[in-house]
């Protein structure tokens, strides 16, 4: 059976989650690999959640937030960006590939972009293979 990655996604309720909604309304197609969790702000996503998902075998972790300047809480996404750069470095030091963790800015008007990002990310993870902590399971 072909490997289908399991992506844990966090989406901010003001932008990316609305973008995912719009992708549905527009009948955009994207693979059913992402499990989307709605959060008040991408800045609410604790680095602990990312590590938790990876340590429990998620093949990829995705965070979606508003574009810079568009944050409902003014600067939540700047906070996300700074924290997540550090987390990205941290997981690489622990031996995880950089691609296992990705964050993007997708607005409520970008339904098409949401579908494209999910399709592309799924392809990328398919090439990368399963999360090493699963050890072939």
């Amino acid at each position: 059976m072909e490997f289908s990655p399991n992506i844990v996604g966090f989406a901010c309720q003001w932008c990316t989650y609305a973008g995912a909604d719009l992708a549905g309304n527009l009948r955009c197609k994207y693979p059913p690999t992402v499990k989307l969790i709605k959060v008040p702000c991408s800045g609410r996503v604790e680095p602990e959640y990312v590590l938790d998902a990876l340590s429990k075998g998620a093949d990829g972790v995705f965070i979606g937030g508003c574009h810079f300047g568009d944050c409902h809480y003014k600067e939540g996404n700047y906070k996300t960006d700074r924290r997540m750069q550090l987390i990205s470095k941290l997981i690489q030091e622990f031996g995880f590939e950089k691609e296992r963790f990705r964050w993007e800015w997708i607005s409520g008007a970008e339904g098409k972009k949401f579908a494209e990002v999910m399709t592309e990310y799924t392809e990328q993870l398919k090439k990368l293979g399963p999360n090493p902590v699963k050890e072939g399971k």
Partner: protein, 322 residues
Amino acid sequence: MADKIKFGFLLTGGCAGCEMAMVDLSENLLGALEHIEVVFWAPTVADVKYKDLEAMEDNSIDLAFVDGMVRLSEHEHMVKVLRAKSKVLVAFGACAALGGIPGMANVHPTGELFQQAYKDTFSTENPEDVYPQPEYLLDGKYNLTLPAFQDKVRTIQDLVDVDYFVGGCPPHHEFVAKAVELIISGNLPPKGSWLTSGKAVCDVCKRNPANENMERVPVEHVKRTVDGHPEEKGCLLQHGYLCLGPITQGDCGASCLNVNMPCRGCGGPIPGITDYGAKAVSAIGSILGSQEAVDELMEKFPTLSKLVYRYSLPASRLKSKA
């Protein structure tokens, strides 16, 4: 008070600093000794062998402390035996509870560690490439053994059930006194708790800007302590020194901050934190004021995990694959 509490103390992979912290109790320790009978204290105080501990009856020790992490097969064996012999087991100090400083080795493969320790250090001369072997047959008849070096540093909790945790490298003596008092009085918190106040270092830190009703300002420049002397006054985090005080247990009374050093997190996580390093990234990431500050941090701390997991790498959610 009925019988004396039977007490055991085992040093595994540690530096004996935790034992020094016990001795630092001085007169308090003398007071405590009236209630405590030391039945096992190895290898620092009493000369006992594996078999002496193995010969004890199961659950015959009322209270046992372990300090140090698990790296050798010997540590693993002794911790498991001690667990079987003890009613209450306390992981004492940063190494036992979180992996401690030796835990930073987990981001390196074993070969690299051996190369550094037995070959590359400038004071080492090893032309024949001799490395420690767990077994060696001398003159064809003497079978010599050494404890085997394991792949990773592990915490005590990785191996056995731990009843209580005490942080600190080493635990601050006033705080050890509190823990000993708690144990003697029998007013213990639920199993699995840290025997701590639950307050953060910032809570007890004299430099905390909140004491002077000052607002938090973002950090524009990241500094290391090797770059110069931190200022005598004011919050070190606000000055750009990455201090882990906001997320670390402050039972030490902010003793590092009192002597101008940023907190490095030996006290262990404050309650509610599931991964110390991730929370450290969360705290540091939110205080950085610009992308330049992030770049500066990455440049000045090439191995980020050794900053945020200095005392707790083996206890991290992501076990290293290296």
